[in-house]
Amino acid sequence: MVTIDDYGEYETAWCPGCGNFSILKAVKQALVASRLEPHQVLFVSGIGQAAKAPHYLNANVFNGLHGRSLPVATGAKLANPKLAVIVESGDGCNYGEGGNHFLAAIRRNIDVTLLVHNNQVYGLTKGQASPTTAEGFVTKAQPEGVFSMPFNPIAVAVAMHAGFVARGFSGMIDHLSNLIQQGIAHRGLALIDVLQPCVSFNKVNTFAWYKERCEPLPPEYNPTDWQSAMKIACEWGDKIPIGIIYRNDRIAFEEHFPVLAQGPLVEQDVDGAMLKEIIEAYV
C-alpha cells in the first residue's frame, strides 16, 4: 500500500511562505489517494519555480524546456499509455510560452493531468507580468502598468470543450488534493488551474486576497452543463469560484490508436512480414 512517505520529503529552492509548498503537499496526497506508486507516475515540467516541483518528490521526471511540457507529455503518453502523466508548471510556462500547445492539448484531449501553478506573475525572473497578470499591475518591466488583458484559461478551456476543467486554491489543500485526484482519474486532458500567492513579487494577489475571494462551487452545481460552465468560467472579482467547473466524456486522444491498446510501444516488435509486404509493393 503506497503511503505519503513513499513520495519523500526534500529540501526546496522556494521562498518561505510560497504557495508551492501547499500544492506539493496536495499533489502527494492525491497520488496516495489514487493508489499510484512513484514508478507508475511521470511528471513533466517546464521552467520556472513551479516547474521545480517534480524534483521534490519521488517519481519519474522529465523537466524540459520553458513552455514545452505539454508536447513532451503528449509524446510520452503516446509511447507508454500506462504511465500516469502529470504536467506541472506555471502560468507563464503553460499560458505564455506554451500557449499554442495548451490549445492543441485541449483539442487532442490527451490523457494528461495539467496542473498549472497560477500566481499571476513571473517569479523566477523576478517579477515581470505573466499572461494572467491583471491590467494595470505595475512591475519593473511594465513600469506604466500592464496594458494587455489577462488570459482566462478556464474560459478558454471551457469554450473549447476541454474534458475536465477545474480551479483550485493553494490555501485549501484538501479541496485541491481532491481536484487533482479527480483530474488524474479523468480519461482525457484535465486542466487544474491553481491560484497561489507569490510572496516575493505579487503584493496585490496575496494569500489574504485569494482567501477572501475563493469560494467552492455549491454541491448542486452541475459541471456537465456547458452553458452554466461558461458563465462560471467568466466569474472573476469579489468572488472567485473554485472546484470542477466543466467536464465531459470526450474520447481520450490515445484511444484513437489501436496499437496503444496493446501497451507501451517499446514492448511491440517490428512486424517483419508486414514490412516485407510493404516494401515489396515498391516493385
Binding site: 517519481a59 524546456l65 514545452r68 509511447a79 517490428v270
Partner: protein, 562 residues
C-alpha cells in the same frame, strides 16, 4: 555508361496529371528492366504554373540528372517553348496537335481523339511508352496496379486511353529510336529518397514520428502515416515544429524510437529542442530536407545550404552526427544507421537531404529485409539501487532505463543535473557532466562512414562533394577521364564528425582540388578548412534552386561540353 542514357522531360501545368504520368512511365521503365533517375521541378502552387518531371533512363545505373533532352513531352505550349533549346540533335517533341507551336521534330498527337480530357495523361503514357518500345501489356498492368482495383470504371477508361494511344503511335510515329530491350528484367524497386527514409526508419524500429508539414520533407511524413496502422506506429501532425521535436523527445524518453522530419525554417524552430535532446541524452533522429533559403526562400527547389545550420544547431556543446545520403539506397541505410547511433549514444542524429533527392525516383535493388534488425531500446534494469540515469562513465554513455518499465525512477532535466538526473548548480558536477557528454563524440567519430575516393590516387584534379551531388560529380569525372584527364572524386556521405586521417592524403596529393556544392559559400570546404587547415581554393557552386548536373559542373570548370 552515361553516354547510352536517354533523357525524357515531361512538362505542363500543375493539375494536368503530370506527376501521375511521370510515375507511371518511370514505373513501367523500372519494370522493363531499366535504371532511372528522376528530377522533379515544381512550383509552390496547386494549379497552373510550369512543372516538370524528368526521367533519365539507361541500361546501367543512372547516377545524375542531365540538362540535354532526347524526348520532350509537352502537355502545354509553354513547355515546348521553354525547353526546345535543351533538345539534342536527334531529339523529339511530343505535343498535342491542337497547340499552336511548330518545328520539324514535333510528333503532333490528336490527344482529344484518343481520350477524354482527364485521361489525356494516360494517352500520353501510351504514346511515349510506345515510342520507347515498352510492352503495352506491362504498361496496362502498371496502370492497374497504380490505380488499384477499387475504381473499376476508371480502370476501364484508363485502359481504353492507353490502347488508343498505343495503336495511334504504331500507325503514325516516325522511325524514332527505341530503347534497347532488356531480356528477363530483374525485380527492382522504384523508390524516391523520402520513401527510402520512411522505410529505413520503420525497419530500424521507428515507433513514433511527429511533424509539421513542410516541403520537401512532407512525403516522409505522408509515407509513415500511410504505413502507420499496419506497422503499429504513432504518427502525429503537431501544432508546430517546436511541438513536433518535443513530442519526439517525450516519446523517446518513454521508450519509442522517434524521428521528426522538416526543412530549414521548420528546423530553425526545432533548434532549442535539439539542445534539449542532447542535454537529457534522449535519442532522436532528425531529417532535414533542404530547400533554398533564407526564410521561405524557394519552397519547392533544391539546395545544400543548411550544413552549417545543422552543424551548429542548438546552444551549448554536445555530440552529434550528420549523415548526408547520396542515393536512395543511402537514404534507407543511413537512416537505419542514424537510429543505431541515436540509441547507442543517446544524442540527436541528423539526416541532411534535399528536395532533389527527396523527390528523385530511382531504380533500387531490393533490400535484404529479413536480415535488417531493429534497434534495441533502453537497458535492462540493474539489481542495485539507486539507479543513476546519468552515471558518469568512461565512455560517457550511461545505462538508459525507461520510465514506468521497472521500479527504478528515471529522472531527466534540461538544467544541469546530478548523476540521478536532478537539478544542480554544483559547478564541479557541471564540469564532469560536460566532459561526460563530450566523451561520446570521440566514439561517434570512430564510427564515421569514411569518405569515398574514386579514380587516380594522384590526380591532376580532385572533385570534392557531399550529399546528393555525388552522382553529378562522379559523372563529370567519368567524362573527363574519357577525355584522358587524370580526375578523381572524394565524396562525403557523412559530414560530421570528420576524420581528417581518412581524407587528408587525398587532398594533399591532388594537383588541384575543387569542391562542388549546391550552395553559395562552399560550406563543406569551409568545414574542412576549419577542421584541417586545408584550403580548397576553387569551388563550383550552384544556388539557383536546381540540382547540380554534369553539364553545369563542366561549364564552371571551363571544359565546355564533354
Amino acid at each position: 555508361m552515361p553516354e547510352s542514357t536517354m533523357n525524357i522531360l515531361i512538362g505542363g501545368e500543375a493539375g494536368q496529371g503530370l506527376v501521375t504520368l511521370g510515375q507511371l512511365l518511370a514505373k513501367s521503365l523500372v519494370r522493363s528492366g531499366y535504371f532511372i533517375a528522376v528530377t522533379q521541378g515544381y512550383q509552390s502552387r496547386i494549379r497552373g504554373g510550369h512543372n516538370t518531371f524528368a526521367i533519365r533512363v539507361g541500361l546501367d545505373e543512372v547516377i545524375a540528372p542531365l540538362e540535354s533532352l532526347d524526348l520532350l513531352v509537352a502537355l502545354d505550349e509553354d513547355t515546348a517553348t521553354l525547353h526546345q533549346r535543351e533538345l539534342s540533335a536527334d531529339g523529339l517533341v511530343v505535343i498535342d496537335r491542337a497547340f499552336d507551336v511548330d518545328a520539324d521534330s514535333f510528333l503532333k498527337v490528336p490527344f482529344k481523339e484518343l481520350a477524354h480530357g482527364r485521361f489525356s495523361n494516360i494517352a500520353a503514357l501510351g504514346v511515349v511508352g510506345s515510342l520507347l518500345g515498352l510492352d503495352d501489356a506491362l504498361m496496362a498492368k502498371t496502370l492497374d496496379d497504380f490505380f488499384g482495383k477499387k475504381k473499376a470504371h476508371l480502370a476501364a477508361e484508363n485502359r481504353r486511353a492507353l490502347k488508343a494511344a498505343v495503336e495511334w503511335t504504331a500507325a503514325h510515329s516516325t522511325a524514332w529510336c527505341k530503347l534497347p530491350a532488356v531480356s528477363n528484367p530483374a525485380r527492382r524497386f522504384m523508390m524516391n529518397g523520402n520513401e527510402a527514409i520512411a522505410l529505413g526508419a520503420i525497419s530500424a524500429g521507428l515507433k513514433f514520428y511527429a511533424f509539421y508539414p513542410m516541403t520537401p520533407s512532407t512525403s516522409v511524413s505522408v509515407n509513415l502515416a500511410t504505413h502507420a496502422k499496419r506497422m503499429g506506429l504513432v504518427v502525429e501532425q503537431a501544432e508546430d515544429e517546436i511541438a513536433a521535436i518535443n513530442m519526439a523527445i517525450g516519446a523517446s524518453f518513454a521508450g519509442a524510437p522517434s524521428m521528426v522530419g522538416t526543412s530549414g525554417g521548420g528546423f530553425a524552430l526545432m533548434v532549442e529542442g535539439i539542445s534539449l535532446a542532447a542535454m537529457t541524452e534522449t535519442p532522436v533522429v532528425v531529417v532535414v530536407a533542404q530547400r533554398p533559403g533564407p526564410a521561405t526562400g524557394l519552397p519547392t527547389r533544391t539546395e545544400q545550404a543548411d550544413l552549417e545550420l545543422v552543424l551548429y544547431a542548438g546552444h551549448g556543446e554536445f555530440p552529434r552526427a550528420i549523415f548526408a545520403p547520396a542515393t536512395v539506397e543511402e537514404c534507407f541505410h543511413l537512416t537505419r544507421k542514424a537510429f543505431e547511433l541515436a540509441e547507442r549514444f543517446q544524442t540527436p542524429i541528423f539526416l541532411l537531404t534535399d528536395q532533389f533527392l527527396a523527390d528523385s525516383y530511382r531504380t533500387v535493388r531490393p533490400f535484404d529485409v529479413e536480415n535488417l534488425s531493429p534497434v534495441h531500446v533502453g537497458a535492462h534494469a540493474p539489481e542495485s539501487s539507486p539507479y543513476l540515469r546519468f552515471a558518469i562513465t568512461e565512455s560517457g554513455i550511461s545505462l538508459r532505463l525507461l520510465p514506468g518499465m521497472s521500479e527504478h525512477l528515471v529522472v531527466a532535466d534540461s538544467d544541469e543535473h546530478t548523476e540521478d538526473g536532478h537539478i544542480t548548480e554544483d559547478l564541479s558536477i557541471r564540469t564532469q557532466m560536460v566532459e561526460k557528454r563530450l566523451r561520446k563524440e570521440g566514439w561517434i567519430g570512430s564510427l564515421v562512414v569514411p569518405p569515398e575516393m574514386q579514380g587516380d590516387e594522384v590526380p591532376d584534379l580532385l572533385l570534392v562533394s557531399w550529399g546528393s551531388s555525388k552522382g553529378a560529380v562522379e559523372e563529370t569525372a567519368w567524362r573527363l577521364r574519357s577525355a584522358k584527364q587524370r580526375v578523381a572524386t572524394l565524396h562525403f556521405s557523412q559530414v560530421w564528425p570528420l576524420r581528417p586521417e581518412e581524407f587528408m592524403r587525398h587532398l594533399e596529393s591532388a594537383r588541384q582540388v575543387v569542391s562542388v556544392e549546391g550552395n553559395a559559400l562552399g560550406q563543406l570546404s569551409r568545414l574542412i578548412r576549419r577542421e584541417t587547415g586545408f584550403e580548397i581554393k576553387k569551388q563550383v557552386l550552384r544556388y539557383d534552386g536546381l540540382p547540380l548536373t554534369p553539364e553545369s559542373i563542366l561549364r564552371e570548370l571551363n571544359y565546355g561540353n564533354h
